[in-house]
Each structure stands twice: as structure tokens, then as C-alpha cells.
Symmetry: C2
Subunit: 331 residues, 2 copies
């Protein structure tokens, strides 16, 4: 509740963020609002997600990664909905006295992803907070009118497929919290680094978004764990799904960790921050989706089947796994 002249941070923000706002609709962050002109016949898809220090990332995580992580969480939602990125708004709350190097690194990381994903910074809001660093992003994408891929449109008989590998980030967080785990899990250094990287920096599947749009019956991004997110999809669709756990795609690192400690399968299936896409589609569409995924360089694995009924069952050795904690929640 204070008056202030333009602060050092104001100047830093102008210095580091204005150069990122090159889209004409951003008006170089020099107006009250930004503008998006949606292509004719398109809907705008809107999503918001954010990260708070000590909740979604460790306060000493590299600042380059923090803004990128927040942006990629949103990009992953757009990808799962079949939407092409159109831009984002950034709300940044910083403790007073956050240093210039931190802000510069944060902005530089964001700038890389703006270029990589073609998702321009359109505007933002910056405040001081007596609390921890907090980054909230609202991201926008476009889809042909009425074509956003929903959670609620899976049909019995659909095949269930998932991109990439599952569970790496959940294991990466555990290692980050307890450095002795890499040894206990007998991971080679490259494996340990892989798990840490997967936690630090999501790799959202925007390269597959157009294929999701054309081929998926229903989709959701895997951010709260495969089990929990698939449960949301089948509930929204009023169907059941049976997943063959042996087919769930795992990285070499995750496979090694589970080999050393079989109970980790629960963390792998229910842990968060995968930022993969789980989707359903009629089996006859699978070859076209596979071809598109191969062209996009995105691994794709068939893991189960949609059925009439309710609930997502994860079958291993003929029995359904039961999870103590079916879904990851930061809340």
C-alpha cells in the first residue's frame, strides 16, 4: 500500500520483457490491453495455470526454467485440446528486491519458448508480494469452430493411447527431495539426469496438436498423473477404461528404478508433471494417428481400451492395481 517512483524492478521488467512482446497485438506492453485477431471460423481456446515457489518448484530451481515451466504447463493443455498457440498473458509476483540477474534469466528462458512454440507474450501484470515467487499464465490457442477436443467424448471401443513416457517427473521430484535415491535405485548418472530434467522442464506435445485435433475422440493432458487424469476423462465421458500396465511406456530410467523398487509403479502411474497427452480414438483411426505422430517425432503407445461402465482400471498380472493416492494434487 505504498506510493513509489518507477522502481528498479519496473525498469528491469521493461528492459527484459518488452523485447519479448514483439507481436503487434502486444503493443510492446504499452497499452492497457492486448489484441488477438482470431482467424476466420476459429474459436479461441483459453487456459490458465501457474507455479508458486515451494509448491510447484523449488525456490533454488534455475530461473530460466521457472517461466518456461509455467508456460509449458499451459502449452500442454492447448496441445491436448488440439489448439494452435496464439499467445499468453503473464502475471508475475516477485518478492521485493528480487535481483536483476534472476529476472533476466527468467525472461531469457521465456523468450526461448516464445520462439520455440510460436506463442507470443501479449501482456502481463507485475506485482511485489510478501509471499513466494508466483507465476500465473493465461494462454490462448485457436481451433476450427466447435472442434476443441474434449474430455467428455470417449466412446466404448476406443483405443487409449499416450504420448512419450510416464512417471519420469514424479521420480525426478523424489530424487530432488532425497539425493540418495539415485544410488538406491541403481541409476546410471545419465538416467538420474533424465528424471531430473523431466521434472525441471516439461516437454509439451504441441507438435502433435494438429493430429490430436483430427484423430482423437477425447483427450486430456497428463499433468496430475496418468491414473488421475484418465479417471477424469472416463468420468467426463461416462465410460470405463482398462489399461494394461505392462504396456504403459516407461523411460529406461523409470524402468530401472521400478526394477530396484517395484512399489514405485504407483508413483509412476499417479505422479504428476508428465505433460504427455492421453487420448482415445476409434481403432481404425490409429494408423493415421501413428503416421502423424511419427512425422512429428512424438512417441505414441497404445495402452488400453475404453469400455462401457465407469472408472479406469490399471491391470497388472490379471489384477487391478489399487492406488493409495490416485491423483497428484498441488492443492
Amino acid at each position: 500500500m505504498s506510493h513509489a517512483r518507477e522502481s528498479a524492478e519496473d525498469r528491469l521488467i521493461a528492459r527484459y520483457f518488452r523485447p519479448l512482446a514483439t507481436d503487434p497485438g502486444a503493443f510492446a506492453l504499452g497499452d492497457d490491453a492486448a489484441v488477438v485477431t482470431p482467424p476466420a471460423g476459429c474459436d479461441l481456446v483459453l487456459t490458465t495455470d501457474g507455479v508458486i515457489a515451494g509448491v510447484h518448484f523449488f525456490p533454488d530451481d534455475p530461473p530460466e526454467r521457472i517461466g518456461r515451466k509455467a508456460l509449458r504447463m499451459n502449452l500442454s493443455d492447448l496441445a491436448a485440446k488440439g489448439a494452435k498457440p496464439a499467445g499468453f498473458l503473464l502475471s508475475l509476483a516477485l518478492p521485493r528486491g528480487t535481483d536483476g540477474a534472476w529476472i533476466a534469466a527468467f525472461a531469457a528462458g521465456l523468450g526461448e519458448d516464445i520462439a520455440q512454440y510460436g506463442c507470443p507474450l501479449l501482456g502481463g501484470d507485475t506485482d511485489h508480494t510478501p509471499g513466494p515467487v508466483s507465476v500465473s499464465i493465461a494462454a490462448f490457442g485457436t481451433v476450427p469452430r466447435g472442434k476443441m477436443v474434449r474430455r467428455s467424448t470417449a466412446k466404448p471401443g476406443d483405443t487409449v493411447v499416450v504420448t512419450g513416457t510416464v512417471g519420469d517427473a514424479a521420480l525426478g521430484v523424489k530424487m530432488r527431495e532425497d539425493a540418495s535415491l539415485a544410488k538406491r535405485w541403481r541409476l546410471m548418472p545419465a538416467m538420474a539426469r533424465h528424471l531430473e530434467e523431466r521434472y525441471l522442464l516439461p516437454q509439451p506435445r504441441n507438435a502433435l496438436a494438429e493430429a490430436v485435433l483430427h484423430h482423437a475422440a477425447a483427450a486430456i493432458d497428463v499433468s496430475d498423473g496418468l491414473a488421475g487424469d484418465l479417471a477424469k476423462l472416463v468420468e467426463a465421458s461416462s465410460v470405463a477404461a482398462e489399461i494394461d500396465v505392462a504396456r504403459v511406456p516407461l523411460s529406461d530410467a523409470a524402468r530401472a528404478a521400478i526394477g530396484a523398487e517395484p512399489a514405485l509403479i504407483e508413483s509412476v502411474l499417479t505422479g504428476g508433471d508428465d505433460y504427455e497427452i492421453v487420448m482415445t480414438l476409434p481403432p481404425q483411426k490409429l494408423p493415421a494417428l501413428r503416421a502423424a505422430a511419427e512425422a512429428a517425432g512424438v512417441p505414441l503407445t497404445e495402452i488400453g481400451r475404453v469400455q462401457a461402465g465407469q472408472g479406469a482400471r490399471f491391470m497388472l498380472d490379471g489384477k487391478a492395481l489399487s492406488f493409495a493416492r490416485p491423483s497428484y494434487s498441488h492443492f
Copy 2:
């Protein structure tokens, strides 16, 4: 960094926020993203703003007002840009253990404004935070393509007009911080209440948005103080403005306070949270704007003139005022 079953707060949020998300594009908060279908030939105008406890509001402010204040800050930006509200995304960070009554009151307040301003809740994100309550909103509006009213398009010869009254919220904050001021300023109880109300709950000028769109040459919402926001407008437009301080519209309460303590004129002109609109327009358009403002029930006052040059001068008794702190900043 914890796993959790669906928490009591998750259930409260579903209980209190889902009923607010009645727009078909919100999918009842049941998907990864929301959808807006912009009317043909329209741009989407995007803005984001938020509030943090202890920075933008007092932690014991009534929760009904907190979400409304955050939403209205964004609605005010849309109004100043001539945009019609299309919806918003809500990011809410709550300390663990925030009670149900608080969440219910917060949501009830938001629900009133969703109805009053026709600005639907489209989606959101909720997290626990180790810090203070934080509310970030990204709001969307529509304007005919290319017609968003800019800050940068004021022309020498334009008249400068402002809606409503200026400085009430700045005085309201001072009273909130020091209860003895009402007496020192010799305010009647109704006057003191007026100033407090103006601080607690902005009254954005969305009723005038269409007139702003049709008649204004340039506009900005007055959120950081009339002097500071007008300075931004003239800088963006590469013009100067001369304001007749005697004509700046004041409430009876602000007039009484300044009568008791003349130095308060600086707080009135530079204080924040007015959520009025200051705009410029060619003088020949003023009658049409006046008629529209009268029809909308929005007071409008001519306060000065745009000139060639730079800077906004506030003239009183033939001299330009100089301000110690020209612009309000929460940062």
C-alpha cells in the same frame, strides 16, 4: 510438493465456483480449457490484473469484495479500450486451511459481478500457497476488428475528459490506515463511508464502453492515479496535455477533505484505484459523447486540452503543480 486425495477445498471450489461457470464455453469447469467464439469481424481484447493480500487489499477486507475488486480492475481496462466483456479466467492462490465461509463469500461476490457485468467465468486454476491470498484474473472482451481504443492516438487540439470523480479511493485507503483522519478532515459519516466504499469496490465504467469505442481518440483507465495515467497516455501519443485542476471532478467528501487539508490535492491527483476513464477526443465529438454518457448515467467532465509537446501539466492558480510522487504503484 505433496500428494493428496481430493481435499475439502477442492470440494468447496467445485461447490462454489462451478455454479458460476454457466457459459457453455466454460464446460462447467470440467475440461482442460475453455472456449470463446468471437463474433465475426471482432478482435479479442485481453488484459490481466490481480490483487494480493497486504498489497492491494487488507487481509481482513470482506471476502465478497476481494474477487469483485480483482474482476472490476480488469473490467475497467476493457471499458477504457471500448471492449464488451466476453469472460474471464480466475487464478486463485489460498493459504492452506482457508475456511469454507471465506471461499463461499468470495465466490458469491464474484457471482454478483458476473451477472451485473455480463462477464462469465470461463475457467480457472486453484492452488495452495505458503504466502498470502492472491487473485489473478485474465479478462477478455470484444471490439470490432482493429478498433481497440489505444493510449497512443491522442491529437493536439483534443479535449481531455474524465468520468466520475477522482481521488476518492486514495483518500479511502488513507482513512483505512488511520481511522483518526475522518475527524481531522471533518467528514460527515456518509462522506467517510463514501471514500471507504470507493476504495473497497471499484465502479468500472463499462456502461460507457460503447461510447468510448465510438467517440474517443485515445483512452486509458485511471488505476494508478490521474496524473500518472494521463502521463502514460500523452507519452504514448507523443503529445502534451494541460489540465485545469479546478475542473477535476471531486466528490463532496474529497472536496471536504481538501478543504481541511489542501495538500491532499496531490493524493487526489496521483492516488490510485479510481477506475475511471480519462480520454481525449476532438471537441466537435464532445456533444455526442456527452449525450451517450448521460444516457448511460456516467458523469463526464472536461478537464483540459491536448497540445503539441510532451508531459501532462496540472495547472492551479496559473502555476503547474509539481508532484513528489507522480504515480501510484503497488510494485
